[in-house]
C-alpha cells in the first residue's frame, strides 16, 4: 500500500478527503452496561475505550457498571442502554420466552467462569461432594438460574442454600461452607483475605456449557443499525485481543477508577487465570475470533436446560436467541498473531 501512496497523488488526495470526512462525521454515542463492578473480566471493553479502538470504529462508548444491588437488565428493552453484558444464555432464553425483543450478537467468553469454591481439606476436592455441604452461599441471580440446574442435574438441595450478599465473611468463617464465585476473581480475594487457596470447581467443566459475557442488543437495533452493531462487536473483540495480549495498563487504570476496590495485583492475577482456564480465547474463538458463536452449541445448552427442568421443550424459539451475522469473521486474529509471540 505504501508504494501506491507514493505513486498516486490523486488517490492520496481522495483518501485524505475520505478520512477527513470520516473524522467530521459525528461518532455514534453508545452506552454499554455491564453486570458487575469493573473487574478484569470486563477488561477487553475498557481496553477498547482506553486505547481508542471504539473511537477508531466511530463509537463514543460509555461503560455503565453493574454491581451487587444494581440490575441493569431492564434498561435494554426500555431503550435506556444500547448494549448489555449478561453472564450466561439463560437470560437470553428468558427474554425470548417472555417476548422481550432482545438478541445476542456476540459471546466474549467461550467458557462461563461461574464456579463453586470450597475450603481445601474439607472433602470438597471432588465436585460431587459439593452437594453435601451444609451451607451453600448463592446470590439472588444464581438462585433463580444455574442453582436450579445444579439441583436437578447434580442433586444439590435447597436446604443448604443461604443467601450470598457478596461478603466473604460467612464463607471464610465456616470451613464446611461453599459459595459461588467467578473462577477468575473470588479465589484471588479469598487468598488475599483468608490466606488460603480455595478449591475451585468450574460449572462449565460439569455440563454448564453456556457462553458467557455475551453482548445483547435490541432486535430493532440489529434490524435498523446493523453497521453500528458490527462496529461495536468488532471493536470489542479487538479490545479483548489487545487486553489479553497487549499493553493493558491504561485499561486497568480506567477500571480501578470505576472500581477503587480493585488492585493492580488482583487484576493481573485474574488475567492470568482467564488465560490459563481458556475463558475467553478457546474453542470456537480460536477458529472464528473472539466473540464466536455457533447455533449447535446454543441448541445443546438449551437442551441441557430443558433436561434440568428450567424450560419446556420448544418453549424458546432458538432462532431468536442469537444472531451469528456479526461474529465468526476472525476479527482481531491478525493483531493477536502480532502480539502473542
Amino acid at each position: 500500500m505504501n508504494s501506491h501512496r507514493i505513486h498516486n497523488p490523486i488517490r492520496n488526495l481522495a483518501a485524505a478527503v475520505f478520512t477527513l470526512a470520516g473524522i467530521a462525521h459525528a461518532e455514534d454515542k453508545v452506552t454499554f452496561a455491564t453486570n458487575w463492578k469493573a473487574q478484569a473480566a470486563h477488561g477487553g471493553f475498557y481496553q477498547a475505550v482506553a486505547d481508542g479502538t471504539y473511537k477508531k470504529y466511530g463509537l463514543d462508548v460509555t461503560i455503565q457498571q453493574g454491581g451487587p444491588q444494581v440490575n441493569n437488565r431492564p434498561l435494554l428493552p426500555a431503550g435506556r442502554i444500547d448494549f448489555l453484558m449478561t453472564g450466561n444464555l439463560l437470560h437470553s432464553f428468558d427474554n425470548v420466552k417472555n417476548g422481550v425483543p432482545t438478541i445476542v450478537v456476540a459471546a466474549m467468553f467461550q467458557k462461563d467462569p461461574q464456579a463453586l469454591i470450597a475450603h481445601p481439606g474439607q472433602g470438597y476436592e471432588s465436585f460431587d461432594k459439593l452437594k453435601t455441604a451444609p451451607v451453600a452461599l448463592i446470590a439472588k441471580d444464581g438462585q433463580f438460574s444455574w442453582w436450579q440446574w445444579l439441583k436437578v442435574t447434580h442433586g444439590f438441595k435447597d436446604e443448604a442454600l443461604k443467601p450470598y450478599n457478596y461478603n466473604l465473611g460467612p464463607f471464610l468463617a465456616n470451613p464446611k461452607a461453599i459459595q459461588q464465585g467467578y473462577s477468575v476473581a473470588e479465589p484471588i480475594y479469598v487468598e488475599n483475605q483468608g490466606k488460603f487457596k480455595p478449591v475451585v470447581h468450574l460449572l462449565a467443566d460439569h455440563g454448564f456449557s453456556t457462553y458467557s459475557t455475551v453482548i445483547e442488543a435490541r432486535t430493532d437495533t440489529v434490524k435498523n443499525k446493523p453497521d453500528l452493531v458490527q462496529r461495536f462487536v468488532d471493536a470489542s473483540a479487538i479490545g479483548w485481543v489487545n487486553y489479553l495480549y497487549g499493553d493493558r495498563r491504561a485499561a486497568n487504570a480506567m477500571m480501578m477508577k470505576d472500581n477503587p476496590e480493585m488492585t493492580p495485583e488482583e487484576i493481573e492475577a485474574s488475567v492470568a487465570l482467564m488465560k490459563q482456564q481458556g475463558i475467553v480465547d478457546s474453542g470456537e474463538a480460536l477458529k472464528g475470533g473472539i466473540g464466536a458463536m455457533s447455533d449447535a452449541r446454543i441448541k445443546d445448552f438449551y437442551e441441557q436446560m430443558v433436561k434440568a427442568g428450567l424450560y419446556k421443550p420448544g418453549e424458546v424459539d432458538l432462532s431468536k436467541v442469537a444472531t451469528l451475522q456479526f461474529v465468526n469473521k476472525r476479527v482481531g486474529m491478525d493483531i493477536k498473531s502480532k502480539l502473542a509471540k
Partner: protein, 258 residues
Amino acid sequence: MGAQLLHRASPALCLVGLLAAWEALVRLAHIPHYTLPAPTLVVRTLIDNFGSLAGSWWFTLQITFGALALAVVGGVLVASVFALSRGLEHALFPLAVVLQVTPVVAIAPLILIYVESTTAALLLCAWIVAFFPILSNTVLGLRAADPNLRDLFRLYRASPWQRLRLLLVPSALPYFVAGLKISGGLSLIGAVTAEMVAGAAGRNTGLASRILEASFRTETPKMFAALLLLVATGVAIFWSFNALSRALLGRWHASEKQ
C-alpha cells in the same frame, strides 16, 4: 340517599377509574408488557400463577405477623419495665432509639451473616422495624393515666394488680393501639425490605424473592402480580387495625369519635 351512596362508593369508583385509565394507556400507547403490563394481564398472570405465589405470600405473611407479634410482646414488656423504673428507661431508651433510626436496609445483610437461620434473620429485621413504635407509644400510654384517677385508686386502697388491670392498661390502650396501627404496616415493609436486600433461601421464600426472581427473568407481569398481593396485604392490615381501633376505642376515645 343518592349522595350518600356516591360518598360510600367513591373510593371504589376512584380505583376503578384509575385501573381503566391504566388499561387504556397501555393499549392505546402500545406499551410492551415487559415495560408496563395492563391490569388485565396482571390479574390473569396472578390467577395463572396463584398456586406458586400463594406459598410465597403465606411465607411473607408469617414473617410479617410473627415479627408484629414479637414486637407487641417485646414492646409491651419493655414499656412496662420502663414505666416501673425511670432509671432503666433513662439508661436504655437511647438504645431503643438507635434501633429505630438504623436503616434496616443497611443492617439486613449484616444480620444475615450473624444469624444462622435465614428465616430468623428476616424475622429479626422485620421486628426491628416494628418494635419501636409500640415501645414508645406504650411507654407514653402507661404514663398517661389521669392523676386524679390514680388518687382515687389510692383512696380506695386498690391493689397493684387492680391498678394495672383497671386503670393503667385501659389508660394505655389508645396509645398502644396507635402504635399497633403504625407497626402493622411497618412489619410488612420490614419483612419485604429484609428479603429484598438480604435474600431468602430455598423453599422458604416470600413475595419479595418472587419479585426479584421475576425481575431477573424479565417476567414483568409476574412482578406486578406479586406486588399486587403485597399491596393487598398492606391494605388489609391497615383496614383491620383501623377496625380493631374502632372496636376497642370507638365508644369513648376522642381519636375514634369522628
